[in-house]
């Protein structure tokens, strides 16, 4: 009953969310509910590209609707801080197709 999705362990931690439209949003998990709607604080989007480094767009306080969420991942903040995003190249994710 109490341990539903396991997201309660991640509250107040930095998480990475991959949305159905292929965006990667990183922020501090402040809350969630039964429908996996998620509150992200101090969030930013990481935009991946093969031509240039990762761009970070500041988004702020977000409520992401559960319908639109594919993956929620824990972030190792030490490891993440060690990344040089400007040198990172990656293909952008494709949206989920239903």
């Amino acid at each position: 009953m109490s341990s539903g999705t396991g997201l309660e362990n991640l509250v107040d931690q930095t998480i990475s969310v991959i949305t159905n439209d292929g965006r990667n949003i990183v922020g501090v998990l402040k809350g969630f509910d039964q429908a996996t709607n998620i509150i992200l604080d101090e969030s930013h989007e990481r935009v991946y590209s093969t031509k240039e480094g990762v761009q970070q767009l500041v988004l702020g306080l977000y409520i992401i609707r559960g319908d639109n969420i594919s993956i929620v991942g824990e972030i190792d903040e030490e490891l993440d801080a060690g990344l040089d995003l400007s040198k990172l190249r990656a293909h952008p994710l494709k949206p989920v197709i239903h």
Partner: protein, 129 residues
């Protein structure tokens, strides 16, 4: 914290909504409900590509068309303040809470009888008939 409490607190504030079709709506949140249906005033709608804009006085958006909502940073602080002031008034676990009425009950609210014919002899459910 639940997303609905943040959304409720955001009532009266400016917010941005992106719908599943990619359109975004900027405006002042007037009302929301548990399905995330929202009523927004003074709206500027932006097309998916961000090249077309429409301005309109109000909009009602069905919750299930929403992709995400962007809320002002200060709103989360307000949620905190509200929950703090609530616990100041009545700390959790201290109140009488739910449950059966007691003999020493001083509240005027009568206890609801579940089965009218049942009588265990104890003076419970005072105030009842």
């Amino acid at each position: 914290m639940l997303s609905i409490s943040l959304l409720k607190t955001a009532q009266g504030h400016l917010m941005l909504v992106e719908l599943r079709n990619g359109e975004t709506y900027n405006g002042r949140l007037v009302k929301c409900d548990t399905w995330m249906n929202i009523h927004v005033h003074e709206v500027i709608c932006t097309s998916k590509d961000g090249d077309l804009f429409w301005q309109m006085p109000e909009y009602y958006i069905r919750g299930n068309t929403i992709k995400y909502l962007r809320v002002l940073d200060e709103v989360i602080v307000k949620v905190w303040e509200q929950s703090m002031s609530r616990t100041d008034r009545k700390p959790p676990g201290v109140g009488r809470g739910r449950g059966r009425g007691r003999e020493d009950s001083t509240s005027g609210r009568p206890t609801k009888r579940i089965s009218p014919g049942f009588d265990d002899g104890a003076a419970e459910g005072m105030g009842g008939g």
